[in-house]
């Protein structure tokens, strides 16, 4: 366990930024967003960033290949990216847990190399949540914000920031910036962990349980008539999917640059009307079906294929951002039959 005094935190940032890019949450007019650190940049005190940390590995849009077309000939030029090492500071436990879920999709065979490269080059420093919000329900998914994970975990106690490596990669980073840190005892942060756990117990969603969902069969949930009322006022926008740290559906599109064809990948949303639209029809014509797909995927299909792991980490972004305030918590409670608890 190492520590640095909060008023000297810039020494730590400077030491990290000396060898690689450092990103951390910064207050902007679009809420807290990850920005590159440079002298004078101060870290946001917000609990979480407006957009999730998935952007680091799975950017909203990225080029895959370029095609040069000449007569009947096609030349494929795969996108070549220069990947540099980078550090992300201040990732919360929920977002850190989301990486393991994204890994299951992108790192399973055949490996998505774009994602894999970015993941390999990034070192994640998490930060324990001293002041969780009412929208937090990460504990429902087994996330412990007192033990935030990542390559390095950090805890703030009073005027001191404690750091502990969790992986080899984290170990290496802390060794490299050892000059900015001093030794500390692991026991020092036990009161912080205990306090966080006490706060988590007090949250309005602390008792949210998936028991009601787990006890039901996939087809019974799918054919439930409750989906109609839940999805009734859904606008069909993609806000929930785009701010979600685990939503990873994508589209592959071509763009005529006037100088060739650029094939790029971009985020897509199962909430969109054209998501499953084919030349001869659409298997999900109504918003109810699209809405149902999103939640069935997170709560039933994904666990079915991934040893019971849910594709939600309880970060609460959809609770804060949905224009009509419909969200996964309301779905869990309604579908699980616990809406009055």
């Amino acid at each position: 366990m190492l520590k640095v005094s909060v008023d000297k935190i810039n020494d730590l940032f400077r030491a990290i930024a000396a060898t690689q890019k450092l990103y951390l949450p910064v207050d902007t007019n679009a809420g807290a967003q990850y920005r590159e650190w440079s002298e004078g940049v101060t870290m946001s005190q917000a609990l979480n960033t407006n957009r999730s940390a998935k952007d680091f590995f799975f950017p909203q849009t990225e080029n895959l290949a370029e095609f040069k077309m000449e007569g009947k000939k096609i030349e494929v030029k795969p996108q070549v990216n220069e990947y540099e090492d980078y550090v992300v500071f201040g990732v919360r436990a929920c977002d850190a847990a989301s990486f393991a879920i994204l890994d299951r999709v992108f790192l399973s065979e055949p490996v998505d190399t774009f994602y894999a490269h970015r993941r390999e080059h990034g070192t994640i420093i998490t930060l324990a949540c001293n002041r969780p919000a009412e929208t937090c329900f990460c504990t429902t998914f087994g996330v412990d914000p007192a033990v935030p994970g990542g390559d390095v975990s950090a805890w703030q106690k009073g005027e001191e920031l404690y750091l502990e490596a969790q992986t080899e990669k984290g170990e290496k980073l802390l060794q490299a910036v050892a000059g900015a840190l001093s030794q500390a005892e692991s026991e020092d942060i036990e009161p912080v962990k205990a306090a966080i756990r006490v706060m988590m117990e007090k949250l309005p969603l602390a008792k949210l349980s998936l028991k009601g969902i787990e006890d039901q069969k996939m087809l019974d949930l799918f054919y439930s008539d409750k989906w109609n009322a839940l999805s009734e006022s859904c606008l069909g926008c993609g806000t929930c999917t785009f701010v979600c740290p685990t939503c990873q559906c994508y589209d592959v599109r071509d763009f005529d640059t006037g100088n060739g064809i650029q094939r790029f990948r971009c985020w897509d949303s199962c909430m969109y009307s054209d998501f499953t639209k084919m030349a001869h029809g659409n298997i999900r014509n109504s918003q109810m079906e699209r809405f149902r797909q999103r939640f069935m995927h997170k709560l039933v299909y994904f666990p079915e294929n991934n040893e019971g792991i849910y594709s939600c980490v309880g970060c609460g972004r959809c609770l804060a951002k949905c224009p009509i305030h419909m969200n996964i918590v309301k779905v869990i409670k309604t579908m699980g039959g616990t809406e009055n608890e």
């Binding site: 096609i74 494929v76 999709v105 190399t113 592959v252 071509d254 298997i283």
Partner: protein, 277 residues
């Protein structure tokens, strides 16, 4: 690390032959630019074909893996990509990646079985590969029946091959039907599901169905009436796909991804799936 090629990056294929099958179906032969197949596959698997700037789409590989020199795709004209493909001339390059999907269990469950192939319209395309595979490895399979129907005589895909090769092959019975009476047609007239019932098959055979959803639905009902267990019936599905590798998230039917867990499903598995197909 940098030598890894991403699975989304396609290869180039050259269209070396184009056959007009029906007014809206053409069969394209695709080879690697240096000749030979772009990759190997098993019957029932698919490939992502694309015309850069127009789009990418998933298509069944129609040719049998026993065909060593090329792959073929029978494609019906119905959207942007297929219309563009139909406008191609021989020598045109396209991009191709794959193979995708599970394919038919030709070397396991199908081994030694009497097989009945039931197809409607362009639904013959994915079955074509298995039929020719079984023909080429004749001693490994029992009898082969093909029940194939289309709107009209002109809409029967691969009609010359069916007439000149399949119909003449020993141990192979071909039953053709068209929806309505037509001049020059002295064969059966009527819809596929009814024809299957008329023909009546032994309940011990293995059935492989592909065609429009409505045909599959009624044929399945007919087979069930005939006392055929659903675990002896196979079909192959088609949904919108973007990646082909189970990541882009759009071709799922419940917890199954058609691109990865399918496109071939046994009909008893389908009963356990949601109805979004």
């Amino acid at each position: 690390m940098s030598e890894r090629i991403d699975p989304l990056i396609p290869m180039v294929g050259v269209v070396t032959d184009i056959r007009v099958d029906t007014p809206d179906v053409k069969t394209f032969r695709v080879e690697a630019p240096e000749g030979g197949k772009v990759f190997e596959h098993i019957p029932g698997q698919c490939a992502m074909l694309s015309v850069p700037g127009v789009g990418e789409g998933m298509f069944s590989i129609t040719s049998s893996p026993t065909q060593k020199n090329y792959m073929e795709f029978s494609i019906k004209k119905c959207g942007c990509v297929t219309s563009w493909l139909h406008s191609m001339e021989v020598g045109q390059m396209i991009t191709i990646r794959g193979p995708y999907g599970n394919g038919f269990p030709v070397d396991t469950d199908f081994k030694g079985k009497d097989m009945v192939f039931i197809a409607g319209g362009i639904g013959l395309a994915p079955l074509h590969s298995v039929i020719n595979y079984a023909r080429d490895k004749r001693d490994q399979y029992g009898t082969i029946d093909v029940v194939y129907g289309s709107r009209s005589m002109d809409d029967l895909v691969d009609f010359p091959e069916i007439q000149n090769v399949w119909c003449k092959e020993e141990g192979m019975n071909v039953h053709l039907t068209i929806d309505r009476e037509q001049e020059g047609w002295d064969g059966h007239v009527g819809f596929v599901p009814n024809y299957v019932k008329e023909l009546g098959f032994d309940a011990s055979k293995t059935f492989i169905i592909c065609g429009p959803p409505i045909m599959i639905k009624f044929t399945l009902a007919g087979l069930t009436e005939m006392g055929i267990a659903k675990n002896q019936v196979y079909t192959t599905m088609e949904l919108k796909m973007k990646c082909g590798i189970g990541k882009c998230g759009r071709c799922n039917i419940g917890d199954k991804y058609v691109c990865k867990d399918g496109p071939v499903f046994r009909c008893d598995q389908i009963d356990e799936m949601t109805n979004e197909y």
